[in-house]
C-alpha cells in the first residue's frame, strides 16, 4: 500500500498517521506538502491527518480545503482512489466538497479529548473490512468541532445508502444521547462519499495501533485497507 499523507501548516497528527500506515503496510508513506499540485505516482491511499490546519481560522478545515494539493486529491478521488480523512482531515474533506455536511461546534461547547467507543456499521467496505459488522471498537477523540450536521435529505440518503460506517456508542454498543459525545446527527462518527472511496471520521484510529498505546482497536482500519488493496492488485 503506497500512501500519501498530506501536510498543511498547523497539522499535528501526520507523524502518528505515518507511523500507523508504516506498521500496517510495511511501506513508508510519502509526506505531501499542501503546495504540491501532484500526488506521488502510484499512490493507493491519500490520508488527510488531524490537527489544526491554519489555526482553525475562518472555519475548521476551510483554508486547507482550498490548498493547491486538494485539486489533485479531488481528481484522485474522482477516479476512485481511496481517501481517508481523520479529525481535521474529516473537516477538510467536508469543506472541500468531497463529503457532504459540516462539522459544527460540539453541542456542549467543550473540547473533548478521551477514548470513545464506536460501532462499526458494516464490514464490506475498504475502510471497515478489518472489522466485523456490529463490532465495538475503542479509539480516542480530540476535537472541539466534531458535531456532524447535514440537511435532512442528506442524512436520509447517508442512512439509506449505508454510508454511515462508524457511530458513537457506549462500551456495550448502545447508540443513544449519552454516548453521542458531541451531539452529531444520528451519532455519526464517520461517513463515506457516494462512491464509497472517501471516508471522513472524527476519532483517531491511528492512535490505537500498538500495545504501548494501551489498545490496538484502530489496527483493523489500516489492516483492512491493506487487505483491500492487496486483493485489488
Amino acid at each position: 500500500m503506497k500512501s500519501a499523507v498530506l501536510v498543511f501548516p498547523g497539522i499535528n497528527r501526520e507523524r502518528d498517521m505515518a507511523r500507523a500506515l508504516r506498521l500496517a503496510s510495511g511501506h513508508e508513506p510519502a509526506m505531501v506538502w499542501h503546495a504540491e499540485t501532484l500526488l506521488p505516482k502510484g499512490t493507493d491511499l491519500v490520508v488527510v491527518p488531524g490537527g489544526f490546519s491554519y489555526g482553525d481560522y475562518l472555519r475548521c478545515g476551510a483554508i486547507a480545503a482550498r490548498a493547491p494539493v486538494m485539486d489533485a486529491v479531488r481528481a484522485f478521488a474522482g477516479s476512485g482512489g481511496l481517501v481517508l480523512g481523520v479529525c481535521n482531515g474529516f473537516q477538510i474533506l467536508c469543506e472541500a466538497g468531497l463529503l457532504p455536511g459540516v462539522l459544527m461546534r460540539n453541542a456542549r461547547l467543550k473540547f473533548i479529548c478521551h477514548d470513545v467507543h464506536l460501532r462499526v456499521e458494516r464490514s464490506d467496505t475498504p475502510f471497515t473490512r478489518g472489522y466485523n459488522a456490529g463490532q465495538i471498537i475503542r479509539v480516542p477523540v480530540a476535537h472541539g468541532e466534531g458535531n456532524y450536521e447535514a440537511d435532512e435529505e442528506t442524512l436520509k440518503r447517508l442512512e439509506g445508502e449505508g454510508r454511515v460506517l462508524y457511530r458513537y456508542c457506549s462500551a456495550d454498543g448502545v447508540v443513544d444521547e449519552n454516548s453521542n459525545i458531541n451531539g452529531a446527527a444520528q451519532s455519526i462518527a464517520g461517513i463515506v462519499n457516494a462512491g464509497g472511496n472517501v471516508l471522513g471520521m472524527m476519532p483517531h484510529p491511528e492512535n490505537h495501533v500498538e500495545d504501548i498505546m494501551g489498545c490496538t482497536d484502530g489496527r483493523g482500519l489500516f489492516a483492512g485497507l491493506v487487505a483491500h488493496l492487496e486483493r485489488a492488485a
Partner: protein, 103 residues
C-alpha cells in the same frame, strides 16, 4: 541608489497612489441559516441573560469581514465579493451571506 530605494522613493509612491490608490470599503456579513443549531449563540444568550441585560430573547452569532477593494467599479466589486463569499468566506451548507459596498 539600490533598486529598492528607487522603488520606495516618495515621487514613485505618489504616482502609485494616484494610479492604484482608489479603494472602496466593503463588508461581507456571514450568518448561520435559520434552523441550524448555534451552540455559541446559545452560550452568549445565556451569558447576557445572567448579566441581566434586559429583554434579550435570543442570540445568533456570525462573522463580519471588512474588505478593501481597489478600483472604483461598484458592480465589479460586488461580483468579486460574492465570489469571495461563495468560494471561501461562507460555507453555504450552513451559512448565508450579505455583501455591501459601503463607499
Amino acid at each position: 541608489m539600490s533598486p529598492f530605494e528607487a522603488r520606495a522613493s516618495p515621487a514613485h509612491l505618489r504616482v502609485t497612489f494616484r494610479v492604484l490608490g482608489w479603494k472602496m470599503k466593503a463588508r461581507v456579513t456571514v450568518t448561520l441559516k435559520s434552523g441550524i443549531l448555534d451552540p455559541q449563540g446559545k452560550a452568549i444568550e445565556g451569558a447576557l441573560k445572567s448579566l441581566g441585560v434586559d429583554g434579550v430573547a435570543s442570540v445568533r452569532q456570525g462573522k463580519v469581514f471588512d474588505i478593501e477593494i481597489s478600483g472604483s467599479d461598484k458592480a465589479r466589486a460586488e461580483a468579486a465579493l460574492k465570489d469571495a463569499a461563495d468560494k471561501l468566506l461562507a460555507n453555504t451548507v450552513i451559512e448565508n451571506y450579505r455583501v455591501e459596498v459601503l463607499s
